[in-house]
Symmetry: C2
Subunit: 119 residues, 2 copies
């Protein structure tokens, strides 16, 4: 919809963003990939780092997130097709362009909500 100027702006991009990053790990995955490609296991380990000793991330969930991110075009999957398996995930151009946004989020979060009253 080519919107004209409305008094209240259309939240479309925001809604789309919400859907795109829905899921507990998507944002963090993208963030962790900002420094370069990571393997499946590395992403998994990386995600455990911030969690307060909670349960492991199940392959099912991680795989799901990874696929979703691939589908939305933020990351790219590279299967080396060898044995033992080796798969790398790296940010696409789109994904990299998104990093600054996450950075803005992180910066704001660091200043305004160290721990959200997380219990």
């Amino acid at each position: 919809m080519t919107s004209a100027k409305s008094k209240l702006s259309c939240g479309c991009p925001v809604a789309a963003f919400q859907k795109m990053i829905s899921g507990k790990y998507k944002l963090r995955i993208v963030w962790d990939l900002k420094d370069g490609a990571l393997r499946y296991g590395e992403i998994r380990s990386g995600l455990l780092r911030g969690s307060d000793g909670s349960a492991e991330i199940t392959p099912r969930v991680l795989s799901r997130e990874l696929k979703a991110l691939t589908r939305t075009g933020l990351i790219d999957r590279k299967d080396f097709g060898i044995v033992p398996p080796k798969v790398e995930y790296r940010l696409t151009a789109k994904g990299q362009s998104f990093v600054p946004v996450i950075d803005a989020i992180r910066k704001w979060g660091t200043r305004h909500l160290r721990e959200t009253g997380e219990a």
Copy 2:
């Protein structure tokens, strides 16, 4: 209470952010409030506008989001205590400081994903 605090420069702020804006409307509510206070009904109407013409937002959900946002300190509730009822919601300082972040999200979203996934 808060468990151990890891300062591993991890995705903590991101996770906190995720929790804070969890819910379909929170971000959009904050965004819509950026221009000033709005009444309950105005927020409700506003949320319908950007939407994909889907169903109405149920009072239960909106009320919930509003309470959550109030609890996290992004918005402030002002009850005029009159009849008929009049309640205004407006951004707190914290909430206003968050607006630029949403703006970054919007700008990125506008450039990289205007497809909401749905028609």
